[in-house]
Symmetry: C2
Subunit: 336 residues, 2 copies
DNA sequence: CTGAAAGCGCTTACAG
DNA sequence: CTGAAAGCGCTTACAG
């Protein structure tokens, strides 16, 4: 099987086009970049030589000189997660349409934040902008400042970092979930999160807690469990021990696993208890309706996020959602 | 004042490190790249200056000179699809560990092949290698050859293109699915694909067809339907009209939609009919068990694909699966 | 062990 | 409208 690996392939550069056409390198460059001015005749010659020699521009070299790589970096925790991959697809598609390529970075679950080491790797590629699903660590914020690169936080609020962000109102999401559980008479509730201290998780928890209060229940008197801390088996044990009948989960994936665990104990979802997830991944994957969940306005979020990033790339710092942000909504499924 | 700190966005380059330390630029470069030889003292000085000034290397510039960008491009059809995003995560993680960053490219569903325009965009970034979930068009193959860049086809056979590939035996997958349907007495079967002419789809269909033949049934006498051609409603109509009771689908996602459509007509899956999907996405997403499906050896495929690509990057053209490839296996679910 | 020079492939002023 | 020169930030020979 041949790969062409070791063969010598002559690299075609502007110099070759220049020699072929008898024009100077910068005239050729001008035609390539459609900069004024050149004659139709020159254009013809250049385009023909390019096609004949199979010239392909080296954008790294171009970026080195021009200062812009026409590249956006996306940072996430876990691209295998449907929420991230769906969003990445929707966003990268828009970058593509605007002439930007996308480089992806992840710390592969090693860290819930963008740490300095990761940001250094990102910056070494000189992207024109960075869009991050993760929040930056404090030192990272300093590095972003110093570097002056546009940095957009996506899906989480950037206010406390003084950085631009596009996100839905997560507290409202938690509120909607809790209200729904109470409406359906699942009033003995618990919250199951990923890990404590994640900003967006805390927001959802807060919205949920407020509804509890309105019903005269203190959050402290109800289970608040984190799967990364306890594991799913222990979480299920706690839920059973507390005799909970309404569960609000940080994500659909967590909800699915909780359902599986409780099933082992003979508990039937939608009958013995109700559960609400988060993210509405079933709609992203075009799966059959599986769960009651909160949709954070996925589509609007992706569109808005891409628009905001492209705006930042042009030095435009205006918020795309001045009206108070995207509103999450409930999607009723068979689990409540 | 150089130590003042808030120098607004002055770019720090090797030149600055050189001036700060009194060493030459190439000595600094040598330390950065750990090339022999330099003294401990010099190393100390350089590392300190780098830390003080917050230097970050420009890998585009480095790549321009060295010829290697330490970058791999991944091309896919649709990163929002769980199969692709899971694989991308598993693969990119391994590239990362080997010191390569990943750039993603897609034609966003516009084309089932890597066309020339897309490959040009990829090559303009000068990746050290390309890994593609999509097969190349004929002109694209020529361009790959001419360019001499390592190009690995992932998930599909590259033999007919003369290009290296890592893939499971898809024909066996189709065979296993069909055998299972017959075993379970779903003997009046149909195939539902994505679109005609996709190599990997044809392979699955062929394996399926062979089993039919062994049971004395000609493929031509059974429905072979493509959703991109007919749409889901028409597909369901055809399935009902032919009074089918066993369905083999090209993917789990297609299977889910077919199940939804047939439900509207009152048909209960697992009772009125059996259905087998492909990809085992439920395991990737950690969803509850939802469907009988074919797992193509996802984990092994990702590990092997990454290893093969990293091998190609080092000029090593050896196949990582000399023993006849990865074997798909059946995952029994509630739909058969 | 360290440094001066050349060059990777472009684009950007600027001169004509 | 076209071209000669400089330079983006590095690494690579090569000289000392």
């Amino acid at each position: 099987m041949e790969t062409g690996g070791k063969q010598t392939h002559k690299k075609i550069t502007l110099r070759d086009i220049s020699e072929r056409t008898g024009l100077s390198i910068n005239t050729v460059s001008k035609v390539l970049n459609k900069k004024p001015y050149y004659t139709k005749e020159v254009e013809q010659k250049v385009l023909q030589a390019i096609s004949e020699l199979g010239y392909i521009v080296n954008l790294n070299a171009a970026g080195l000189r021009s200062g812009s790589t026409r590249t956006v970096a996306i940072i996430f925790d876990d691209i295998a997660s449907p929420f991230y991959s769906y969003m990445t697809d929707a966003i990268a598609k828009r970058f593509d349409a605007a002439g930007y390529d996308t480089v992806i970075f992840s710390n592969y679950g090693r860290n819930a934040y963008v740490d300095e080491a990761l940001l250094r790797r990102v910056l070494a590629r000189k992207p024109d902008g960075i869009m991050s699903f993760l929040e930056p660590s404090p030192e990272t914020v300093r590095l972003i400042r110093r570097h002056g690169v546009p940095f957009l936080i996506f899906g989480r609020c950037g206010e406390k970092y003084g950085l631009p962000s596009v996100h839905a109102d997560t507290e409202v999401g938690g509120r909607i979930a809790a209200e729904h559980l109470f409406e359906r008479n699942y009033t003995h509730t618990a919250f199951v999160g990923s890990e404590a201290g994640i900003g967006v998780g805390e927001d959802r928890l807060r919205g949920y807690a407020k509804v509890l209060e309105e019903h005269g229940i203190a959050l402290a008197d109800t289970p608040v469990l984190y799967v990364k801390e306890l594991g799913y088996e222990k979480v299920a044990q706690e839920l059973l021990r507390a005799n909970v009948n309404g569960i609000f989960c940080y994500s659909d994936i967590i909800a699915f696993k909780v359902i599986s665990q409780l099933k082992k104990a003979g508990k039937i979802v939608g009958k013995d208890y109700g559960i609400v997830g988060y993210d509405n991944i079933q709609s992203m994957l075009e799966l059959p309706e599986m769960i009651t969940t909160i949709d954070v306005g996925n589509e609007a979020l992706a569109v808005g996020g891409a628009a905001r990033m492209l705006g930042l790339l042009q030095g435009n710092d205006e918020d795309v959602f001045p009206e108070g942000g995207i509103k999450p909504f409930l999607v009723k499924g068979p689990t409540t």
